[in-house]
Subunit: 467 residues, 2 copies
């Protein structure tokens, strides 16, 4: 049995030398695209294309086999027909290659002969030191060093490097399928474990728990082979860093579908529920929560308590936020008398929580300055631990004013906040959201996740105080 402490996973994310085995056909081959992606994202390790049909690709010499590479190889990326894979992995293991990502499909995911092929891979990992991610995976993405095994074009070539590790059991979560560039998620590492013939979510949790670049992790799982190990790893991770889990294959129909695309069988769903409750894990109930709850941890420091201020351009959205806050375990702040006096002086209607900025702003000459004073006053209140801010952006409140306000506010704000923008132009909302995140202020696609994320932040912080 392999050690599951994750210490030997570094070659997957920080290899110094990489062999790429697959089609090198220009603009078409999976090997070609994997190499091209590494180059585009700035990976600077040594690359060894391997394919006997090519002598050169992307300006690099191609090798007929892994054995022909004189250098030691940290990682082999294998994207060849499934029947060829066991022999390739055996050759890699014999050469001392530390790790392999097997992208090829039609192993346990296809059942029958594929399952037998996968068993041969398992046998090799048991009798050698090589670690395997996959098969049936797109592998890894490391935002810090630009290393990736993904053999498909992304359509963009920049991501924001940051503290969130996203992991999954399916390729859809990785950046060739997601608007990671458009949405500006601050990424540390990403990984699709695929069929998990060797490396699984337990290894990943242990590796990422010790990874200095990872501040928080979100993990999509369908099945877990050993519930006890997973529970321990999740608990241990959550003691150090926040862990968000999105569990699919919850239903029998979902589990059957999972078995037929990953070759895995479900254990009782109760295991996950227990794991999640007992281990201090945060449960994401939707894809949007999976993507966006981690941002509250990546951008904010822990709050002192659960008292939230809600400041909204819309009274109606303020009411929705109050509901969501209560449902997320937050309490609405009662401002100090000093704050109430200061707010009432600006407008009698402001001295409350949620604050509906709409009516007061509509009758003053300089609404932007009143808005800034309200937000600053509330965030300075000692009875306020965090804030959910809801702002319209558009013709009536130009993005430039709002961004300038936050540039000033972030110099004095140390309390956690989340911002949800609404307005008539989607592109404008996305644009100002990225600008605010550039200032360190997390923004949200939907109001529900904006408020729930604050609740998750508070709950996690409180669980740390109990220890």
């Amino acid at each position: 049995m392999k050690s599951r402490n994750g210490s030997d996973l570094w070659p997957f994310f920080e290899p110094r030398t990489v062999a790429v085995l697959g089609s090198l056909k220009d603009g078409m081959g999976h090997g070609y695209w994997a190499l091209k992606n590494m180059l585009e994202f700035g990976y600077t390790g040594k690359l060894y294309p391997v394919n006997p049909a090519y002598s050169e690709v992307l300006g690099m010499k191609a090798y007929p086999s892994v054995n022909e590479i004189a250098d030691a190889v940290d990682l082999a990326l294998v994207i060849t027909p499934p029947t060829t894979v066991p022999a390739i992995i055996k050759e890699c293991a014999e050469k001392g290659v530390k790790a392999a990502v097997i992208v090829s499909e039609n192993f346990a995911d296809a059942g029958g002969e594929g399952a037998k092929l996968q068993q041969r891979l398992v046998d090799i990992t048991i009798h050698s030191g090589i670690r395997i991610i996959g098969p049936n995976t797109v592998g890894v993405f490391n935002a810090a060093n630009g290393f990736t095994t993904i053999p498909y074009p992304f359509g963009y070539d920049k991501v924001r490097s940051g503290g969130i590790a996203y992991c999954s059991q399916t390729g859809i979560v990785l950046p060739q399928c997601q608007p990671i560039g458009d949405r500006g998620y601050p990424i540390s590492k990403m990984c699709d474990v695929g069929n998990k013939c060797d490396v699984n979510e337990v290894d990943l949790l242990n590796y990422l728990a010790a990874d200095n670049e990872t501040k928080v992790s979100a993990m999509h799982i369908e099945d877990v082979k050993n519930g006890g190990d997973f529970l321990n790893a999740a608990r241990s991770f959550a003691e150090r860093k926040p862990l968000i889990i999105f569990k699919s294959a919850r239903s029998a129909a979902g589990a059957r579908a999972s078995a037929s695309h990953t070759g895995s069988l479900m254990v009782d769903d109760v295991i996950y529920d227990n794991a999640i409750r007992q281990a201090g894990v945060i449960r994401a109930k939707t894809w949007q929560e999976f993507w966006d709850i981690p941002k509250v941890f990546a951008y904010n420091s822990p709050p002192s308590g659960n008292r939230v201020a809600i400041i909204s351009h819309s009274g109606g959205a303020g009411v929705v936020a109050a509901d969501l806050a209560v449902e997320s375990g937050l309490a609405l702040s009662r401002y100090t008398d000093a704050t109430l006096r200061k707010l009432a002086k600006l407008s009698p209607r402001l001295a409350k929580n949620p604050i509906d900025l709409g009516p007061p702003l509509s009758v003053v000459d300089d609404p932007m300055s009143m808005q800034e004073e309200v937000i600053a006053t509330v965030l300075d209140d000692t009875n306020v631990d965090c804030a959910a801010i809801i702002l319209y952006v558009g013709t009536m409140a130009p993005a430039s004013y709002i961004v300038q306000m936050f540039e000033r506010l972030v110099k004095r704000i140390s309390k956690p906040i989340t911002v949800w923008f609404y307005g008539t132009k989607l592109s404008l909302i996305e644009d100002i959201s990225r600008q605010l995140e550039g200032l360190g202020v997390p923004t949200y696609v939907d109001q529900e996740t904006a408020v729930k994320s604050l609740g998750a932040l508070v709950k996690y912080s409180e669980s740390k105080k109990d220890i």
Copy 2:
């Protein structure tokens, strides 16, 4: 007491003559913007700007008072300081104006003197025939005739005319705050009831139930003054057309916030839950569900049963869809033997539900043609009542191919489907989504609502069969 059958609400949505009372300052005044919006959206009724300080605005003659208008006036739009409003409404009532939308704030929403001012409006409506929407509202929007009372710039000037009526108790739901243009919601009518000094959700439900342009309605509510009337109106509406309700002010904190921005007091939340369960109403739990569940009704005919096929480019997303389907009351279709044989002939891995298109498409020369054959085969299956389709769009599957495929498919598809696109470019996803909706195929921002909407469609259709 007014009749609540809604028959006298037509002047709010289809006035022949409109007086606009408010600031006419060029590019700034609320009266100016209301008039400009009516012109931009193509309203062709007679417009009477009213403001003694102006003789002309936007090429139209301005009148010093409503009494100076010789013509009969169907609707008065009032955006003047609150203390001036009761006298204006009295004058309107005496002139025989049929309806007034009062945008002005600081009535019951501000409490104290404001509440007394509002009572004076209530008194006028009781003793005259005039109907009032508001105060504290942006009023109405009618996509069919371009009429709107909204006194703010939208930042766009086109909406898609269609079958969905969106109503709310807050302005955030109306098109000056929402990406109605970008998202292409097919709108019939929209209305913000504001403080509800007269017209309330019961009137609106009764009016919209009889409105030929409205096929389905989504309603945001915070409070209801008479739970019994509301329950009856909701039940009666739902017997004729689908009704989706998004209820806020669910929590005590939310209810307090609601009271302070709309001047309403909450009755027991249980009333709504009962209303929703007993009256056959569909409950939206998030803003996204409020906006997007109605689309499944606007674009699709009722399904014959609850058997869903799931067809996905991503195995992982297919599993999530299977969970969501089961949780939404759908059953996964068991295809006929003929379908299974046909699918297996294309690829042995395709003969199942959910169908994971990914692996088979990756190994054929013409993936687009295989994909189309799979979707057509499944939709032709007599054991399939509806389908949730999940497609990647981007470099590896260009939008043009997908749109062309649906152009052909819609000629033979009569079964309800929803489509969720994923990919790396948000703008591309929005763009192809609008193109598909142009073909009559509803698309979704998130996978959860795409599947839940099918569940809502099936549940509503089944409730009709029971009657």
